[in-house]
Symmetry: C2
Subunit: 514 residues, 2 copies
């Protein structure tokens, strides 16, 4: 019995982090959703969305604002108007191109223990990317700078629930633009050993970040082709446009077999129709065009369908996130991606200005939609606040708890003679209690999810201890995590080579904005 | 087009409350979950749980701590040990009794517009029941008293998302025990016109509350039999016991055809095995015994399967709520109830000591599990805090938003040519925006869920306006709702009769604790 109980404990993978310094957290692990994905529309309705998207592509088309991209598509048989850079796609073209996109792939990390499966029913939680501001209770809201940027990277490394890094967790605006991508990538690679991200901001930046990834991973060109190790997100400039920096990124990364996530930015009522159905038709047209372009550049290149459809507040024009509409659009996007057999990305979002109850309930609407739809990368999984304008240290900790709880929820229930506990009920009988039952003693240490942030003490104890609410506790926890953080080891020769590359490219002037 | 847009607006039922005084809220409406219920275990695993529960009932049995109840069961063929009050049930007995329980019924309210369907895929949100304390930001935590009790009833009436009342939203401890049920029921019936609740605390109390319901509804005995109008929850005194007050309530209400919800109180690790599987096996055994008893008293009496399995924190013994284990247990309970074709009740719970981010994310874990499992009554839907020890005014408002958002999420997406908006995309084209599109103008007023509590203004506007967080905004909103509240009309003759009944029964000494 004892052996079985320990076996169950292992199976539940509730081991604490070695670097955890006593803070309870889940081990780094893969989360697969064992349940059927939620379908938000019928098969017929899904086909109607699909067909409408194809009509958009065929009839209206998209602008591809880079002559090189137009030329690639023209050669492949798309209908390109060279003057307007408008590209129209026939149904057969889209279907043929989509057929080569892989349904799943491995995203490699510097630490192979942090390699990820992207596809199927696997859910990966990603740190926040790209907000211009950072905030915590002590210093309030401030422009993103290197110190906060690095601390968010440390938290992304420290917490095992963070599977990968989604760019700069806050923009380090105090690093000059031409060298920000060099310094940024150096920090990503040295402060974490998880999957890294490449901004598609200009051709030169992409090439620099590819070179640094090769150095960090110890790979040559061929090795990188074989091991996707650097992922990027490109946004459609909705409605129905891809602009130059995005197309450069798509070309440079796809041809090197690195994964690109195509995410239309379809805010319903602003850059997309005012209905969820219409916004997702447009999202789908833009995503299909982007995926088809990637497969035209390099058939078989790993690619991800990104859903980001939310709505605006029609009274103020402000974007809203974590709304009922967002949840439905996310599930619909996921259902479309499953139809096309490509991995899906969505986000853990909210529109709150503070890491408060609103930030939590809007985040939960997002996370549940992500999990139920089998979202493979939950972008902005940790730290997002204020519609993406701020990375919040307290929200990061709230999200660690939210994502851990979801991960734990996804673990299948064990229904066995041992877990059903009839012996324990026989032992205890009517009117007794189970605290001292053999069944309990064998399991109590790892029986239940142990929270990081939630405080379950009784009111009196909690009040005597200062009545500290969840946000204020999160403030303490993030600081403790930073104090406990240990930089992951790196071969000194590799680190030297990375620093030499950054120094050389800095001397050359970095990469001016194109 | 305009007509269609207005039609869609009506269909979405986003009308504001007439009594809303300008506060946006959803109209009183029925929420059906259009999606297949989530199955948390396979059919085989469900049968294993079912079979194990039957083994508990057959082999261990339950204590029914009321000779009259034992006698009812003995006469019906159950195996009763009169000395120990232990009752054992054969499989055939349970199956035969369950067969008469209705799969759905109507719970009638004083205002017929507030009648509810209980069963199938309909989800009803219920106010909090029975905490000993109340709290708000102004006055902190205090013992429940009439003023707070009445104010929570006013909020339960005011907010349309509250479908029914689940007892005293806070215990009015300043009303003497022998007459509390009289004064309490008078307040329930006069301050609200929604479905009311009866405490199963003693035979006399139940009879008094039945009489008052008949007066309030204008029904005689026969009329009440035909119109279930008074619902109750009885908890098993877990493990494996039903005590006297609960059994009195079951007998008195079932024989009058009033709905009783049987809810085992199976805290995993304390009153139930330390595994979710084991705790639910026990919950199921207790629920089946209770349901079988109700059907023995009155075959066909409306009955509800209640799931309340959560876990304790094994470090402190404190109960935990809104945990991953709670979500799984809720979904498993719902799946069992569907197997037995009886309505299901679960709860919107959390263990936070403050109406903060923890209270919100734990509540969301609960609400999603409830909704995905097709829970018919979400008990404690509004206002629960601190593991049920406190009714919080701010949490009530947070929960209005959480429940409204869930209700809105459950509305099916409309996938039609009009909603898919191809004309709008043709009109706007690549690079444009949809703010002024005809498609937008026709729909923008009712296109999206309009929040009550969430603040979507930009950071600067929000900060200039005092940087008020969600909890502090909830404090303002509950006061505004109380100011806007209007007592629902009641025939003066009925109110006089109710007051006369209370006066008479008070003069008689009320109902001393038995």
């Amino acid at each position: 019995m004892g052996r079985r109980a320990r076996g169950e404990g292992r199976a539940r993978q509730l081991q604490r982090s070695a670097a955890g310094g006593g803070m309870p957290q889940l081990s780094f692990q893969r989360f697969d959703n064992p349940h059927a994905p939620m379908t938000i529309v019928s098969d017929d309705q899904l086909e109607a969305i699909h067909t409408a998207s194809l009509a958009v592509l065929e009839e209206i088309g998209l602008n591809f604002l880079l002559p090189e991209a137009c030329e690639i598509l023209r050669k492949a048989g798309a209908d390109v108007d060279p003057d307007s850079e408008r590209v129209r796609f026939e149904r057969g073209f889209i279907e043929e191109k989509l057929a080569t996109a892989p349904s799943a792939f491995t995203l490699h990390a510097r630490n192979p223990a942090h390699d990820l499966r992207v596809g199927g029913n696997t859910i990966n939680f990603c740190s926040i990317g790209s907000p211009p501001n950072a905030s915590d209770l002590d210093g309030g809201r401030r422009r993103g700078a290197r110190a906060d940027f690095e601390n968010f990277l440390r938290l992304s490394q420290y917490f095992n629930i963070c599977h990968l890094v989604g760019g700069y967790p806050v923009e380090p605006t105090d690093i000059e633009t031409p060298i920000r991508h060099l310094e940024g990538m150096l920090a990503l690679q040295t402060l974490t050993d998880k999957g890294v991200f490449c901004y598609s901001l200009s051709r030169q930046r992409v090439v620099d970040m590819v070179e640094m990834t090769k150095i960090g991973m110890g790979l040559d060109d061929e090795g990188l082709m074989a091991r996707p190790s650097l992922w990027s997100i490109v946004n459609a400039n909705s409605p129905l446009q891809y602009d130059r920096p995005m197309l450069w990124g798509m070309i440079e990364l796809a041809k090197r077999n690195q994964p690109v996530c195509v995410t239309p930015f379809t805010l319903s009522g602003a850059m997309a129709p005012v209905t969820v159905a219409g916004a997702v038709v447009q999202q789908n047209a833009e995503a299909l065009a982007g995926l088809a372009f990637l497969q035209t550049v390099n058939p078989g290149a790993p690619a991800i369908y990104g859903g980001f459809t939310s709505n605006v507040d029609m009274k103020t024009g402000s974007p809203a996130f974590g709304t009922p509409e967002y949840a439905k659009a996310t599930l619909l996007g996921a259902q479309l991606a499953r139809r096309y057999r490509v991995p899906f990305r969505a986000s853990n979002v909210n529109a709150s200005n503070a890491p408060d109850a609103q930030s939590a309930y809007e985040a939960e609407m997002s996370i549940w939609a992500c999990a139920l739809g089998h979202t493979n990368i939950v972008m902005h999984g940790l730290g997002w606040l204020e519609g993406g304008l701020t990375a919040s240290f307290e929200k990061f900790i709230i999200d660690v708890e939210i994502c851990q709880m979801m991960g734990e929820f996804l673990k299948p229930l064990e229904i066995t003679d041992a877990t059903m506990g009839l012996d324990a009920m026989r032992e205890v009988g009517p009117g007794g209690h189970f605290f001292a039952a053999q069944h309990t003693l064998e399991r109590y240490e790892s029986a239940f999810y142990q929270p990081l942030l939630s405080d379950w003490r009784n009111f009196e104890t909690w009040a005597e201890d200062g009545a500290v609410d969840a946000t204020a506790r999160a403030n303490r926890i993030y600081k403790k995590a930073l104090a406990d953080y240990q930089q992951p080891p790196m071969d000194p020769a590799i680190e030297e080579a990375l620093r030499a590359f950054v120094a050389k490219r800095t001397e050359e002037g970095g990469a001016p904005i194109q």
